[in-house]
Amino acid sequence: MPKATVVVPAYNVAGTIAETLRSLLRQTLRDSEIIVVDDGSKDNTLEIVASFDDPRLRVVRQANRGLAGAHNTGIAHAASAIIGFCDADDLWEPQKLERHVEHLEANPDVGISFSGSRLIDAKGRPTGLVQRPRLKGITAAHILKRNPIGNGSAAVMRKVALDAMAWRPLHEHERDWWFDETFRQTDDVEGWLRFALTTDWRIEGIPGLLTLYRINPGGLSANVERQYQTWERMVTKLSAIAPDFMERHLPAARAYQLRYLCRRAIAARDASLSLALSRRWLSSSWRPLLEEPVKSLSTLGAAALLSALGDASYRRSEDLLLSARRRFL
């Protein structure tokens, strides 16, 4: 049994998966298996994976089920007691797996170990932006508001801990679900939050920026409303499971979620949407302003600037933006 399994969900990722797999095969922890779950790709993803000749690598194919469905299939096939997720366009620093395995082995109460990330662009170049989340004392409220786990390639988990949130929906005949496949977005946050609300395992981060997380520009603002609807559906689902918790934390969490979407609208240069979202998050709760004043004010300022100057002038004021952009992306 290998020490750890890395699950790589892959859907039409011919352009990036080779680099991802090279980063996983270069890990300092050699005793691992890498499971690529091909989620019904229509490009030549499979050929590229097949060109790797390494006994640690194997492919599981399935008809398209989405990211949660690929993660679930990967967990179901994993041979190890420790499982990490790495999206097929992200990269891992060579020490990542080793560091998380050490963390989990030294802390038997930790169920999910994660770390911060550097953001890279479509060509794999560093953008200078980082995700440096809170690492300790993580509660369900932190996940609902700010999701410290951050992205889909940050977490390395203990299998027995994951199993505490597994179930088999009535219509499912192949394997269990750990993540809810009815969510095509927000599926990771739904999973982490349900994990925090229904199990007693600790979620904890380790220092270091061990994931290179790729940001893809374009198409950002088109999804904003749909993403918000999905987030609200997650809230409705988990409100039934933990009503007291949601009642207490929802207004602030909703404001944080709308602020996050507002930043995405700004990044996509959608002035009217970013203004509308600014108004909505302020009407939900002022807590983000109190808890994170710099980030909140710079988001509001950028939204105002964008709508005052228009796209062209806004783009010209790159120097001005750079400092703000580091904060709001």
Binding site: P108, V160, W167, P169, W177, D180, K237
Partner: protein, 337 residues
């Protein structure tokens, strides 16, 4: 001279504990192995009660306030076997109620280490204790509780195989998840169905609000005849958010009524006795399960449930007898030394 066994309970022990103790005291199978007595202890008291019995069984709630009492018991009765039965805690309990989890796990580890044996009330609870290293190796035993099942075993089998009256019974408390059940019932596509909620408790007003005057949902008062209550239902649902064991599940199986239950904690134990498990715990998981339950043919699983209930009575007596006998021997060895 027969072995004497003192059962310690405090005022905050859950209601089911008293029923299980009644059964322990009145069971002819257990009466033969020793003389049981009940010692009531005020929660949080610092002085240890005076106990003459050969073996001491704690049904006390483990909490910071009771820790001095537990430590005192170990000190004062260092020569007597000390057994603790964990009626209250489970993974689901900690997840839903405890903010400082590491601290709480420490409380449990410290408290359990004071006892010669810790009794888990279900396989699910025992698996959690073992996985999280809460009980020192070799000191954990599992004895699912039991009550007098005779009134439930006498409930006539269902006359028709239709599932029309869905029901749930117990304390109206957030733990029981009846709010999820009401939402799911209203969301499900069911034919000619009713939902009966039998009990009382702090959630009553909120549950009524959720029912929103739906004429198919009725609230029935608490009854001290649970067998008759279960007999009036076509199916019993247990959507509990946490449940170390779940006596209602056992009673439902004994009464040969279909049982839908959450799969968490101790409720998972009932699946092999014919209960239909509802994983996930969301409203839609429960709505789909209610629909499936109405279409399902239950006749085979109901027979299995009744057999399992009969075995549960024997298992309860047998495991307690084994545990007491094992410690009676160590008492003998200690006094001989």
């Amino acid at each position: 001279m027969p072995t004497t066994i003192a059962h310690l309970i405090d005022d905050s022990s859950p209601g089911g504990v008293n029923r299980v103790l009644d059964h322990l005291l009145s069971s002819p199978m257990l009466g033969r192995i020793g003389q049981h007595e009940i010692v009531r202890v005020k929660r949080g008291r610092l002085s240890t009660p005076s106990v003459q019995a050969d073996i001491i069984v704690s049904h006390l709630s483990v909490c910071w306030r009771n820790l001095p009492l537990l430590v005192g018991l170990r000190g004062r009765y260092a020569d007597r076997p000390l057994i603790h039965v964990e009626h209250s805690y489970s993974q689901g309990f900690v997840a839903a109620n405890v903010a400082k989890r590491a601290r709480f796990h420490s409380l449990l580890r410290t408290s359990y280490s004071l006892f010669d044996k810790v009794v888990a009330v279900s396989e699910g609870q025992a698996a959690w204790m073992e996985l999280r290293g809460l009980v020192p190796a070799g000191r954990l035993v599992t004895i699912p509780p039991c009550v007098d099942l005779a009134p439930f075993l006498r409930v006539p089998s269902k006359q028709s195989d239709t599932t029309r009256v869905f029901g749930a019974l117990g304390r109206f408390d957030r733990q029981k998840g009846f709010d999820i059940l009401i939402k799911a019932f209203r969301d499900a596509r069911l034919e000619d169905a009713e939902l009966h909620l039998i009990g009382d408790g702090p959630e009553l007003a909120r549950l009524r609000e959720l029912a929103d005057g739906d004429p198919r949902i009725c609230f029935r008062p608490f009854t001290d005849e649970p067998a008759a209550a279960i007999a009036s239902l076509d199916l019993v649902a247990m959507p509990s958010r946490w449940e170390p064991y779940g006596l209602v599940a056992l009673e439902t199986l004994a009464a040969a009524r279909p049982l839908l239950c959450a799969t968490r904690d101790g409720l998972g134990d009932h699946l092999r006795s014919g209960a239909f498990g509802v994983g996930g715990g969301s409203v839609s998981d429960w709505a789909r399960a209610l629909e499936a339950a109405q279409r399902r043919d239950w006749s085979f699983t109901l027979r299995r449930g009744r057999q399992a209930a009969l075995q549960a009575e024997q298992r309860f007596a047998h495991r307690w007898r084994t545990l007491i006998e094992e410690h009676r021997r160590t008492t003998g060895e200690r006094s001989a030394a």
